[in-house]
Structures are given as C-alpha cells and as structure tokens.
Symmetry: C2
Subunit: 323 residues, 2 copies
C-alpha cells in the first residue's frame, strides 16, 4: 500500500483536460499496489484509475503493457482499458512520472479463494491466453528461469539467516530446474502474476483482471503453474486438491491442454514456486521492516516448493483430467 | 496516508448487507486521513466512504460527530451524511473497530487556495455555524486553551531541540493567552480543524466539508481564527491580506460578526496558531521519521504566531470590515 507520488488538484485538472472524459470531480490516492502510485479518479465522464509509474517499472515496457490491455479489452477480456487522450496517446507525463488513465473495474478480490473462484479463474486465464494469440508486440519474461540464478546469487550468502537449509534447497532445486526445464511448450502472452488480488469478482463471476505489469511471452502453461501456487493452497500452505482440480478443469474446458503441457505441469509448478520464493526472499532481506510496503514471508513458498517436489504427475493436481 | 485496518471481502459484504444500499461492487483503501482508516466503497446503491475509527478517536465521542454530520446535512450543509443501517444505527462494528458508512462527496481540495476559495470558505463556515445552532449534543474542545499548557509540559524539555527560542516563545505566549483569553464570545458548534484538505470544491464552489472529528462547542470566531491560519498564509508562511479579507468578508456576509468578536480576532488567531504549533511540535518529537503519517513542520506555525503577535486589530486581517 503506497502513494509514492503526490499530485496536486491543478496538475490533475490539467492532465484530465487532455482526455475526452469531462472535468475532474474528485480523486483519492489508493492504498494498493506495490509497484506504482494509483489514484481513483471521478470525472463527469466516468470513473478511472490513474497510474503513475514508479521506478520499479521500466518505462520502455509500458507500451507493451498498455497495448496488451488495449488488445485484450478489445477481444472481450475484462481488463482495464487504457484511455487515449485527444492526441490518441495512452501514455503521458504527470508529476515527473509516466502516467496512464485506465477504466475502473468494479469487483472485489477474494481474500480466501473458494473452489468456485478457481474454476472461473481457470476459464478466464484460458480465454486471456487465446485472446492474446494475435498480439504482435513481444516482451521477454524478466523473471524467467534464466534470471533465477543471478537473483539467488544476490542474496545466497544471507539465505541461511532467512531459514536454515534454504541455501541448499534453492541451490539444488535450481540445478534440477535448469537441467530439466521444458523448452517446447506452446508459447504466448502470459500474465505471470495472477494472484487473487489481481482478479476481481462480482457475485462469484470474474469482473476484472488487473495489473499486467509482469506480462510477457512465455509458456502458457507456466501461467497456470503460477495460479496453482497462488490460488490452490490454504493459509498453512497445504495444497487443496479441489481447487487445483477446478483451476485445471476450468482452463482445459476453454483451451485444451496438450500432452506435453500435462507432463510439464509438476516442473512448471516447481519453477513458479521458485520464482516467488526468490523474489520474496530477496525482498525480505532488502526491505526495511518499517517500509510502506508489506514484506511477504518466503516461508509460504518453501512449503509450496516442497509439495511440488513430491508431485508425480498432473493427476496430483487434478484427478480426472484426461489428455 | 494510511490504511491501519485491513478488511476482507467477506467481512465487508456482510457489513454492507446491514444497510439498505444494495450489494458490494468494489472497495479501495484510501491513502488519506491521519487518524482513521478509510475505504471508498461502491455498491449497487451508490458510492460511500467507510471509516474505521482507530485508537486516536475516542469511541464515546462518535455519536457527537456522526450526529452533528446528520444534523448539518439535514440543514443543507454539504457534509457527509452517515448512512443508517436497517436497525437505524449510524455506528457499527467491523474488523474489531467502530465503523460508519457515510455518503461520498465529489470535489477536490485546493493545494494552493486562491482568494475565491477563501471567500466561499467564509460563507460556508458561517452557514455551518448557523446550521449548528440547534444541535442539542455537547462536546468540550479537547484541544482548547486549558489543554495547551499540559500539552506543552509533555515536550517542553525538548522544545529547544526543535527550534532555538521555542521554549520561551511558547511559555511567554501561553502566559499571555491564559491571562487575556476572551470568555464571553458567542458560542456554538465549531469544526476546529477546517484546513484546505477538509474542504472540497467543484468549479470553485464548495461541494463538501469533511472530517468533523475535532468538532466541539467553543467560540464561533475561534473557528475563523483557525481558518485564517490554515488558508491565508503563503508557502513561506507570509500572511496574504487578500485571502484574510475574503475569508472574513465572506463569513460576515452570512453571519454578522459582533464587536467583541472583532476585538478578539487577533488573540483568537494567536491561540489557533498556538494550538497547531503545540500539536505539531509534540507530533514532530514523538513520530518516528519513517512512520506512515507525514510529520508537519512546526516552523510554519512559529511564523504564523509571530505575525499574529504583530497584529493590532481585525483590520490587519480584513481592511474594510465594518462593525
């Protein structure tokens, strides 16, 4: 939760005047979003989210992210639509930051996802993957397998302070992942960070998918593996089979998973657990205890990783999925 | 800026169901408000602010604050209206806190108030004072003159660390204020904290007055003195005569100031400067540098106090005001 950049009423009124959305009625800084500053803006033309991009987002990636939202939104995916100003631009400057105005989506994210949420999520993820097929821009995954070892090297000397045994756990797992990572899976645009706080529901139906600031080109099934980690474990990091089952069946009902994707699911799930274990460990060691942004305990992802290491096949995630 | 208390989607949906405002569509924590946690809530019935009262607000005072908003709103003052639940209650419990749902007011607060804003403010303040005349509940000013010396005693030993000369400045001024403070001025319900961030404008007209959590019974003219300090000095803490003039004339055009109120304005302005100098000094010394809440520099109020000490009469604030 953070508002890193303050915007004055006069500045914002001038900014809003560049768009064909009426005049400014109100704006409130939102205590959400770890990476960027967000304001909820009411104008006589509607309700919008104003995002000011802070230093953790690379400015050169913004056209990819905004273009993707524009592309997906035009294909019926309920994601925020970047509003174009009167010069047809989606990206502008405000208070010394790159800034975009996007449509506001109603909905609340589920703090404790239920099986029904996971089923809807699976379907929506598959629809998003299909809608992204003809998106022409490309962006490499900046937190893909090739980035994990360099990230580990940044904190490996302190890994044991975080948790005894963590150094060897990560080291050995990285060796396994690097030697066995699948390379020929169907590729496409993935969200890559589809945690519950990025998916809004109204009446148990998905009303919005937000926060495309990790989106990239990678194996589509890796996106499912991220969701398995993010949605299908309980508060004690114990896997919940009914949720995994719902997620995978929901997905498969819209975009049929191929046999190689079936085979790869356990290693993809291990990789996804590794990716979040690494970033959370690094952030835990490098974020002051009293920072504005809450640190997330890496322990949850140690438990997830160990679970995935015990998995034999995709049928441990979804019982009756047939290839 | 702060969200001190997290609320889950399920908790909030159950809370909203107690009110006749439709079902929950979305909610966002707002990065505003120093004392309490605020969420902006959309339901199928409208837009609301949900406030969770944190420890700095005395629970026993909440019926006064909410009752006052209800009273003023019914008399045409554009302030938030506390929504009553289906049991006719304005105050409920949520996430272990006292909580109220109030109507959302459009508008933005002026970061750099203009003369026109001060004129509107003066009129609105007078209308609020008149509308409060028949409000039956009473609350003493918890930061009135009798509270200033005890507050100073809490940090007087450290006053010189804050600013050389501050100890004697406050000590001597308190002696003057305590010996000369006017006691027979017209009394009523005052806002007591009417800073620019508590007054919303749309198209240079006041659309809302918010944050009644310092409201109390005291001299009406003291409320004007607070506004003189809060609205009528520039960024260098230099008095801006055109703004003082607009504020006082706006007020006087709606509720005629009496001769004793004219005479008392300079000492009331000194008192108001002292009240904010004391709380800011105390907070500066007692708030960690890295806290969620921004500390406000007491220096601004040292300069204001010194200006008011040089004032001879109300005509130094408003040139042609006639009694």
């Amino acid at each position: 939760m953070a508002v890193y950049t303050e915007v004055s009423d006069d500045e914002l009124a001038r900014f809003v005047a560049r768009y064909d959305i009426g005049s400014l009625l109100s704006f409130k800084g939102i205590a959400e979003g770890v990476e960027n500053t967000n304001y909820l803006v009411h104008t006589t033309g509607g309700t919008f989210i104003l995002t000011l991009y802070e230093k953790r987002v690379a400015v050169e990636d913004l056209p990819f992210f905004l273009g993707l939202m524009d592309h997906l939104s035009a294909r019926g995916v309920t994601c925020p639509l970047p509003v174009r100003d009167t010069s047809d631009q989606m990206l502008n400057q405000l208070a010394g930051r790159s800034a975009a105005l996007i449509t506001f989506l109603e909905g609340v994210w589920p703090k404790r996802p239920k099986v029904a949420h996971c089923l809807e999520l699976g379907k929506a993820l598959a629809r998003m993957h299909i809608a992204g097929e003809d998106f022409p821009a490309r962006r490499a995954n900046a937190l893909g397998i090739q980035d994990w070892r360099p990230l580990f090297n940044k904190f490996s000397a302190k890994a044991e302070d975080l948790c005894p045994g963590l150094h060897d756990l990560i080291g050995e797992e990285l060796r396994f992942l690097e030697s066995s990572w699948p390379k020929d899976l169907p590729q496409g645009v993935i969200h890559a960070d589809l945690f519950p706080d990025n998916v809004f529901f109204v009446d148990d139906k998905i009303s919005g998918i937000i926060d495309f600031y990790f989106a990239c080109n990678d194996a589509l099934a890796y996106d499912i593996a991220v969701c398995l980690n993010a949605w299908c474990f309980d508060a004690n990091s114990t896997f919940e089979p009914a949720k995994g089952d719902a997620l995978l069946k929901g997905y498969d009902s819209v975009r049929r998973l191929s046999p190689p994707e079936h085979d790869a699911m356990p290693i993809l799930a291990r990789g996804a657990a590794m990716r979040f274990l690494l970033t959370r460990s690094y952030d835990w060691l490098n974020t002051p205890k009293d920072a504005l942004v809450a640190r997330k305990d890496p322990e949850d992802y140690i438990r997830r990783l160990k679970f995935h290491q015990s998995v034999q096949s995709i049928s441990d995630y979804a019982k009756q999925l047939t290839s």
